[in-house]
Each structure stands twice: as C-alpha cells, then as structure tokens.
Symmetry: C3
Subunit: 330 residues, 3 copies
Amino acid sequence: CLFPILAQAQSNVTIFGLLDVNLAQERANGLKRNAMDTSELNGSRLGFKGSEDMGNGLKAIFMLESAVAIDTGTSTGFTRQSYLGLEGSFGRVTFGRQYSPAFVAIDPYEATGSSDRSAGMLHRKSGSVARGYQVRFDNMIKYRSPEMAGFSVDAGYWTGAENATNDSDLRRAGRGYGLTGMYKGGPLSASATTQRYISNNTGGTATTHGLGAAYDFGVVKLYALYTQDREGGTQGKGKARSYSVGAEIPVSKPGTLAISYGKRKESGEANTEDASGASIYYMHNLSKRTTLYTAYTRISNDGIANYGFNITPNAGDNVSVIMAGLRHKF
Amino acid sequence: CLFPILAQAQSNVTIFGLLDVNLAQERANGLKRNAMDTSELNGSRLGFKGSEDMGNGLKAIFMLESAVAIDTGTSTGFTRQSYLGLEGSFGRVTFGRQYSPAFVAIDPYEATGSSDRSAGMLHRKSGSVARGYQVRFDNMIKYRSPEMAGFSVDAGYWTGAENATNDSDLRRAGRGYGLTGMYKGGPLSASATTQRYISNNTGGTATTHGLGAAYDFGVVKLYALYTQDREGGTQGKGKARSYSVGAEIPVSKPGTLAISYGKRKESGEANTEDASGASIYYMHNLSKRTTLYTAYTRISNDGIANYGFNITPNAGDNVSVIMAGLRHKF
Amino acid sequence: CLFPILAQAQSNVTIFGLLDVNLAQERANGLKRNAMDTSELNGSRLGFKGSEDMGNGLKAIFMLESAVAIDTGTSTGFTRQSYLGLEGSFGRVTFGRQYSPAFVAIDPYEATGSSDRSAGMLHRKSGSVARGYQVRFDNMIKYRSPEMAGFSVDAGYWTGAENATNDSDLRRAGRGYGLTGMYKGGPLSASATTQRYISNNTGGTATTHGLGAAYDFGVVKLYALYTQDREGGTQGKGKARSYSVGAEIPVSKPGTLAISYGKRKESGEANTEDASGASIYYMHNLSKRTTLYTAYTRISNDGIANYGFNITPNAGDNVSVIMAGLRHKF
C-alpha cells in the first residue's frame, strides 16, 4: 500500500551501501548449522558521507556507516564508522569511531580480504591470548598522511573508557595507539604496523605487530601476512603468532579465484590454542556492483583450540563451512 | 540552530517512507486509555531501496525498511523488510527478512487492509492456539513468479533459529515454508495460501491456510476472507478459524469508507477463545500522498477470550477503540 | 573495498545533519576525565524531513531526526524529533516527539545556546527539585502560530505514559502542557513560557516558568534569562530559581566570543542544592557550515550541591571543563 511519488531533492550527503547475503552450512564433529547469513565477502552496511570544499584545498569530511544484518534486518547505530574531520595538503585528521591502524595495514594482505569466515580469522581471533588486533576503536584521533613516493602513514590514538577517576590505571583503561606504514609501487605493495592498548583496569597491555606484502604478477597476485599479538604487564605473558599466504587468480573476465592458507601458534601461557586453516573463494561479477560467490573454509584445531565461526566446536575438533552468496554495492 | 545549505548529490538509492499518527481512545469494562499512537492505516516506516539493471533483463534489487514510531521516535533496525535479490524474466528471488507468503495472500482481502486496530486482528491474533500466520520471517528465501494470465505465485522458505547442534528438532526450530497463489482478472482478485513452521523445540508445528477474494463493482468493492491456524505434533491440537467480510465504498472524490466484520472460532483445545468484531474507517485524501482518517472498532469477546489492542481486558469483556489520524507517504 | 558508482535518484526527502566532536578535560577535586565527546555546541544528528504542498497554502510536513554520538557511532531511533503535521495560514499543527514549549522559549536566551557543558546547565539540571523544564516530550500535539506584528505562540499538550487503567492518577502520569509567547522586533527579542506536567503516579506536578530576552547592539548581543522549576501536590514543595546573563561578541569576520554567567538557588525543601557557574566559548567559522571552537566552563557548587558534566563531584566540590572541537552542518 505504498506509492512513492518522486520529486527532486538535493543534499550534501551521499548515501551508499553494500549488502552481502549467503546460504551456509558449517560442520564440526557432532554439530551442524544450516543458515542464511550476512556479511561474508564484506560487512553489509548503509552509510551517509559528505565532503565540503572550504577553499585553499581544505575540506571538511564526515562518515556515518551503519552495519546491517540483511538476513534479519538488525542494525544498531553507526558503529562501523563514525567520524568528522579535516582534509588538506597535510593529509587528513579525523575524530570518532574508526578503523584501527592495524586493520588498515593487515586487512589488504589476506588474499580472501576481510571475509568473515576465511582462514584469515586466525589473525583476528584471540583464543586465550588477549588480542591487540582490534578492527575498530571508539574515540579515536586519526591521522592519514598524503602519499609520498609511494609511502604513506596511518596513525591513531584513542582515549579508551574515559573513566572519571583519580586512579590513573582506571583512567587509562582501553587507551591505545597504532602506527602503520604503507608502500605502493607498481606491482608491489606492503605494510607494517604496531598497535597497543591498555587491555585491563590495572595497566595490562595487548600489542599487535604486523607485516604484509602483495605482488601482482598479472596472472596471479600473491599475498603474505604475519601478525603477532603479545600480552604485557598484568595482562599476562601470552603471545600469538599468525602467518598466512594466499593468491588471487583472475580465471575469466568476470571470475576470480582467491585462496589462502593460515597458521596460528600461541606461546608463553599454559593453555595454548594453535590451529591452521585454508580457504577457497570464487567470485563471479554479474556487473561492477553485483557479485555471485561461493566459498569453502576449513579450520584444523590443535590440542585445546576450539576456533569456529557460528559453531564453537569441542576442543581439538575441526570446523568446516561451505557458502554461496550474493553481494551488491550501491 | 541548523542551516542546511543544499547542494547536488547523486545516489543509487531511493529513500521513501510513510508516517501515520493518530489520537485514540480505547475502552473496556473499567479500563480506559487515551493516547497518541502510530501506524494505524499502515505501519510508519523509513526505507532505502534500489535496483541495478545488469543487462539482459536481469536486475539486482534491495530493500532496507525501518519501522518508525512517529509518536515517540522509536525505531530499531530494518526489521520491516531487509532483503537482497535478483529479478528477471523468471520472476524474482530475494533473501532476508521478508513478508510471509501468508501475509501476501491474506492482507489484501481485509477491507480495512493492514489496519492495526481493525476487526481484521481476529485473523492475526493467536489466543491460546499457536499462530501459523506470522507477518514476517527472518532468513527467508523468497520466490515471486511473473504474472501469467492473471496468475502468480509467492513462495518462501526460512531457516528458523539456525541452532548449531546435533539435535535435529532444535536445528529445525522456527524453520518453515509458505506458498501463495494469486489471481487478478478485471474486477475479480483472489488468493489462496498455506504456511507452516516448526513452532517449538520438539518439532511441533503451526499451520495457516487462507482464502481471500474481492470483487470491484465500482460503487462498492466487496471482500471476503477465511483463515485457519492449526497446531500439530507436540504443539497441541488447537484450531482457530477466522472469517471476515467487508466493503470499500468511494463516497466522494477524496473520501472512502471501509467496513468489515469478522468472527473467530477456536476448537480442539480446552480453553477456546472466540470473538467477533466490526470496524468502520473513513479516509479523506488531502492529496495523493496525504490522508486524514477516522475509525471505530469494537471487539466482542466470548467466554475466556480477552482480545484487545493496547488494553488487555478481563476475560469476556468487550473492547472498543475510536481513532482520528493523519497519514503521509513520501 | 567499496566502490560506490553514482547514478540519479529523486526523492521527497531532504537529508540533513550536524556533527560536533571535541576533546575535553573535566576536573573536580581528586577526579579527572580526559575524553573525546560529541554534541557540545549542538547535538550531533542525522535527519530526514520533507514537505508536500497540497495547494491552497496547505502543506504536509514531517521530520525524523536521530541523535548520533560521533565519538562512538551510537545512535538510537529518531528520538531528537519525530513528527508529522499540517502547515497553513493558520500556523502549524504537528504530532509526535517534539521540543517542549519551554525549550523553544528558554534555549535561545542563553548566550552559549544549547551548549552541552555551559553555565546554562544550571537552568536545565534538577538537583533535588523535580524538573519541570524538559527539552522534549513524546506524544505531543503542538501548535505554532504564524508571526503577527512580531508576536507568535508555541503551545503543546502531551499524553504522558498512556496507561490503560481505571486509576485516573496513573492515567494522567506524565501528561502535561506548555505555552510559550515570543516576540521579535528589530534588535529586541523576548519570550515567556509556562510548562507543567504530572511528575509521578499520584498526581504530583512539576512546573516551569521562564522569561528570556536579548538585545543586539551590533558590537555585542546581550542575553538575560530567568527560569523557575516548582513542585506541587505529592511531588513536594521544592522550588529552584535560575538566572543567567550573557553576551555574544563578534570579534572578527569568522570569530565570535560567547560568555555567560548563571546562578541557581533552591528553596522549599530540606536539601537545597545551590550553585553558580560561568562559561566562555570561542567559535571560529572555517566556512558557513564548518566551525572550530574552544570553550571553558566552571561550576561552583555550594553546600550539598554536586552538579557536574561527565564527572559527579563530591558535595560542594567545584567542577571545570575545557574543550576544543569541530562542528559541521550538512
């Protein structure tokens, strides 16, 4: 019973989005899950952004980006990205909830990208080691440099829990910083990052280091990524190292194959959760904006590890997931 | 203190909506409620939708539709509709949170439409019988056929709770399907539907059947609707049958009168909740997009039935509600 | 991984917004808070509004305005403003969640406007006296008159909790009304308001009276404001009177200074919470839409008063906050 009659309106805002929906079956020993899921290749989102040219090359820029679960309609606020800032010849400074410098460095160097259920999850999961690699932080001041001779920098500082107190450990809880250097030159691109934050109320820390590189041979683009999460102070002495290698192969005009293999090794704590995994994704573009895909990932858990996606397997049980879906950008 | 300065922006998205606000008084024996309410003639909403033509008659389509309580500003996610899909000469296939096939069949054949507080509620309410007729389901794959010789089909399957388990009853909880056939030819339109889902964690079921028809004589459009909710398995043995008849009468160029009478009869369980009710709505179009309306509904509860709208009356007490409101589409 | 490709779309909706982010340090005796905050000069928001011209000077108008915490991305519904209504030569009548008449009268007469952490908070805070001055109410019917000889009226009535009951005190809980008269003539503007609502479930009341005026001398605009909150019936016998004076001074083409001093005096109850405070704001326009600002506010709490912003100080402790931020309108 809705008859929208369209008339002209103008705005300083660009609306954009991406929707990604799939059917998936995940299995572990004795457990099975059949589902419709959202956000496999990329996170489903609806966003509002804008830019005001204020002269002399100075711009005001903003972004409000909401996560959308297309399978259920659930959406809460602009928690994917929410920032306001200034951009000029000096680069850009933005304030708000933003991607961490570690994410900016690490995400492009998994061949299966930011895919939700790829072997790349072994870089992002924490297990028993406190995770330094968080994708986003609230209350972040971020600086992105211009590119010079292929090099650029992404640096962030965030305020954490913002407790009002005379206890300096409580006041610093959640506070952190990250620094990423990036290079792009011809077929080669690479990045290095370090990110640290106060991970508890008594001054403990979680630190991430990362190194990524990719080389595009044309017939295949190769990827390599190393990340390390390390605890400090009252947080403990755990350490987790994750490696992955991958390749992206254009198999036809509309079709691309992406494969990755990853391994995670923990140390320094009694209970270490080690695992390895592999993924294969096939993406078929129906248009520049719309893609069909299918994918398979398998995670092999060692010892007490119980990594999974929507299943939490028993310790040491392997998990596999098979998916087919549709992604649309607007 | 806001001075929006407008400039051009372009987008693949159409924003649309409908807002419906009214003043209402509901009464039952000893109870009264005076209120401003939302969503009487139709659900208040704000939506974002789009369509990409990919050539060869193939389109990508999406819809994100949020419910808005205009009286309080409350709104949560895109829980009215949220889907992505493909459309072509084969019809359309969409994935996400969507209207159930039963809703598609039943809703057009109440003369007072999907009005919130009409006698049509006797089709939608459950009482002590588990309700097969749900308006929307998450995680639905939906197929809508093209129209052929006036006939079309709307079919859906949804995954339910998506529990990760080795218990097949738990895994099937909430899962369901629906199938609707529709016909339109000249003044006659009609539909038939069957919808079933797993209504508990032990394999019980709730099933809806529905038959609707309307005939437009010009001076009056007549409506008839029959629906049945039936329990199965561990859910019980209850059955609820609801009938309604109605008429839509254009009384002037801008004015339309809609009347309906409905009856609900439950059986098969000890505690049956029977009721009947009647509604009269008058809608006055100020423009194609804006409508003033006033309405009155009375529900007569039998025995232990206590159907109401924002009032829950004592068993057997009747409920009436009188409303006046404004609806605007954009 | 997002490549929005833009194409034309049209709509009856105007999207607008305002984002305001700042870095702040608040201090009280023994307490300190360093933070990134949102909504200092104005509340951060994203809104959708529209207007349909229906001929004969009659318009349908709507507004859906969401609050956005730009520092964290948090946003919940359209709880800033959400209304639908009609506008014509008679004025406008709107229905939904709206600014209270008291807010319309009082807010323009604090020199530091609706700033979140200005001395103006002494008008808005309640302490131990129930507050009559609320900024917004749900379920409001509002009338705004046209301006005649500089005079206009803003009147509202709201339904409150909308309890369905036979207890008339419960049914009236939260119900209220407000009436504001406004004048604008040359350099002078002024307002007077009275607002009352049922503040508890037993018929108690909270009432606000307010008087504001401003005079623009060109080199400086002076402001004066008086407000009073008064309890009645079962709510108690408390009374709070707040005064403020302020000035807005254009110090350069892009720069404006705003200063204010306020005082709050409570009486009629055993525990009175008195305080005074002063604010200075400097705003520097980078463009018509984008403003840099810095501000300082200090609140002096007397006796048992413990007013603060994000800090709740100990009784009688003073609070100060220093801020620097960026505001952008779109």
